[in-house]
């Protein structure tokens, strides 16, 4: 922490002068807020790239047969869309951006436990991203396996698998570093008086997420290394011709990639748990139940990976176990939804944009969650496996759940991060368009899936034409909504009216510091006496 000596009392983290100037003052800064902002800008860039790929896919599907691209390009595009959106956007998403920025402030610390490691994690992230995306510019083209890299195709295809797989491996390192950092920060740096059960819920969900990050990511790391081994040395781990078992690859891949869904969704739930009590002006209902359900999701979520493989030919015993565990993991999520709705009961609600995002989060998360239960039932899964229904389900969770929470969080903490208010009317317009576009885009896919349209298909029969047109139009509405939102945020960050310390009447510690916060957040480390949502 080299810049420390230069701090004077009220210079914001955006303006203080450190050892370096200009861009270097950001990309070499170990300040958790600047690292969080670096993540924010890089993730938004990748997100927009991923959205454009998604729009291209939907455009291709507006009519049967070839519309704008050939089948090989389509395969490459859905793979890249998946790789970018999963590994570069939603997995780091909320923890790396808002976790980095808000976690130390919310628990009353000056920084994370290992600031240098924190900066390193961003550099590793960028390095991994460059490696993963370099396949685009190599002869042979980007991979066409889907983001799951299923064996044996992933070591038979002639496309550039190695950069994508190595990139994902490196990105895992970044994720692990963030996880280690957050766990140590939460264990060691809570402000005096902040006992575990006085910690706000967003840090709690980051704690759960960090554990999954450090315990699940290595499994996919080693699996991806084995794929590299397969391609380079032809070892035979997953090659049926050499005695390997491709289903074992699926096991290992999903041992990480299912918990990864909880890496994404837990902090999203945490952000919603911050937004709802603030705008309801009311203490959150069932604080302890939310904490315990967070930890329960993190734990049980580790053992449900097999529900991605119901039609792969697993044993009956495994099928029943995984289906049972899948239903079990739905309980803590339902407890949270119940608590959020109960918090709103008889509350005098402030109708602001972050609240709209939180409320619509509840709506899409319920649809996503309940369709997930449908998929968790064995017999239904056999019918719906690998159809557009699955695509709709996980977009409702990953894009609807995580994306809406991210949007809610960015509006909620916008005054704190940039020290200015956004334009509420434009923000709400953006939200309405995004919400309508989102549902128009994905709801028809449930219908398409039930009637039998497979996922990842380039072409389809005429009877699926109508819903596909609706869906594509939805993607355009969503895109315009996204444009409005981003335009508004960029403009408001420069020209918006100056924000006070606590525009929403929040009770957690980040609302007691300056907007934007100073280098070390607090002039004096606070002593915590009350619980986090004390509105009495």
């Amino acid at each position: 922490m080299s810049q420390q000596e230069k701090t004077s009392s009220h210079v914001s983290f955006r303006d203080y002068k450190g050892k370096y100037k200009g861009l270097l003052a950001w990309i070499l800064s170990t300040d958790h807020k600047r690292v969080g902002m670096l993540y924010l800008y890089s993730i938004i860039t990748f997100f927009i790239t991923g959205v454009c790929l998604g729009i291209a896919m939907k455009l291709e599907l507006i009519a049967p047969g070839k519309t704008v691209m050939d089948p090989a390009t389509y395969n490459a595009i859905f793979t890249l869309h998946g790789v970018i959106m999963i590994f570069l956007v939603v997995v780091p998403g909320l923890p790396a951006v808002f976790g980095n920025f808000m976690l130390p402030i919310m628990i009353g610390a000056k920084d994370v436990a290992f600031p240098k490691l924190n900066l390193l994690s961003w550099w590793v992230y960028i390095f991994g991203a460059i490696i993963a995306l370099s396949s685009l510019f190599m002869a042979g083209g980007p991979p066409d396996t889907g983001w799951t890299f299923y064996a044996p195709y992933s070591f038979k295809t002639n496309t550039n698998m190695l950069p994508a797989v190595l990139g994902a491996f490196i990105l895992g390192f970044s994720s692990i570093l963030t996880g280690i950092n957050f766990i140590v920060t939460i264990h060691r740096l809570r402000a005096p008086g902040m006992t575990w059960f006085k910690m706000p819920l967003f840090p709690w969900t980051l704690y759960g997420t960090s554990w999954i990050q450090i315990l699940a990511t290595p499994i996919v790391g080693i699996t991806l290394l084995m794929i590299v081994g397969e391609r380079l040395l032809n070892i035979g781990f997953f090659d049926p011709a050499l005695g390997g078992d491709p289903i074992l690859y699926q096991h290992l891949f999903w041992i990480y990639s299912h918990p990864a869904v909880y890496i994404m969704i837990l902090p999203a739930m945490g952000a919603i748990s911050e937004i709802i009590p603030t705008f309801a002006n009311k203490s959150i209902f069932g604080y302890k139940a939310i904490v315990i359900s967070t930890l329960a999701i993190a734990f049980v979520g580790y053992f449900v990976w097999g529900h991605h493989m119901f039609t792969s030919g697993m044993s009956g015993t495994a099928l029943y176990t995984f289906s049972f565990l899948t239903f079990l993991v739905a309980i803590p999520s339902a407890i949270k939804v119940f608590n959020w709705v109960s918090t709103l009961h008889k509350a005098s609600i402030q109708l602001e944009t972050p609240f709209f995002w939180a409320a619509s989060f509840l709506f899409v998360f319920m649809i996503g969650g309940l369709s997930g239960l449908a998929l968790g039932a064995l017999s239904v899964n056999v019918h719906l496996h690998d159809t557009a229904f699955v695509v709709a389900h996980f977009h409702f969770i990953v894009f609807g759940g995580v994306g809406f929470a991210f949007m809610g969080a960015i509006h909620y903490w916008f005054p704190k991060i940039w020290g200015r208010m956004y334009n509420a009317r434009l923000a709400t317009t953006g939200w309405i368009m995004f919400f309508i576009g989102f549902n128009t885009l994905y709801l028809p896919m449930f219908f398409l899936g039930i009637s039998g349209m497979p996922r990842r298909y380039y072409d389809y029969v005429e009877r699926f034409h109508g819903p596909n047109i609706v869906s594509t139009i939805g993607s355009w509405v969503l895109f315009i909504g996204l444009f409005v939102i981003i335009f508004n945020l960029i403009r408001s960050a420069k020209k918006g009216p100056i924000a006070p310390k606590n525009p929403w009447g929040g009770k957690t510690l980040e609302w007691t510091v300056d907007s934007p916060p100073t280098l070390e957040n607090f002039e004096e480390i606070p002593v915590v006496e009350k619980g986090p949502y004390d509105y009495s």
């Binding site: 060691r188 450090i214 315990l215 499994i219 070892i235 035979g236 781990f237 290992l252």
Partner: protein, 205 residues
Amino acid sequence: MDTSIIVEDEHRDDEGSKLGMWLFIFTELLLFAGLFIVYGVYRYLNPEAFHLAAQQLSVSVGTINTIILLISSATIAMASSSIRLKNKKLTLILLISTLVMALIFMVNKYFEWSGKIHHGFFPSSDTLHTLGNGDTLFFGLYFFMTGLHALHILVGVVLITIVVVRVSKNTLTDENPVLLDNSGLYWHLVDLIWIFLFPLFYLLT
């Protein structure tokens, strides 16, 4: 607290560093756990072939390497005590013997590997393909797992070398032994993994 003093010493939290190191060790354990799962499944599917293939490996080389690693673990653990007792000379001796032990391990490994490769036991070799799928998988796993383990040994050697340099320059003393402790923890992890690799590849014949 006197707020007029803005300049403060660098944040230091030994307990936190140790916790961080342990969390990293957890990720390493899970990394190898993935490979142990693969080993377990393929052993279960090819019991006879794994049984016979393991006889190709020399139990004596494996035993010697195990004992070498155990001794090196003990020496670095003792270094953690000696640095606290302010015995710089003994600390250096213990650390350097750990390094020497690591090098002997690697030399043994080198001869073992080159012997196997010389006899045609290496991934995707014709010898293995004619022997059958069980042997292919056994030796694939053998090279992959011991290779990854050897990579960890090399990382450990680099870490301990840094510690040796810092101890000899007196920048690492009984005041701040946490880097030595954490390198020790890492080295014990390498030992821990070998404790499981050894019976799985050399003894279950």
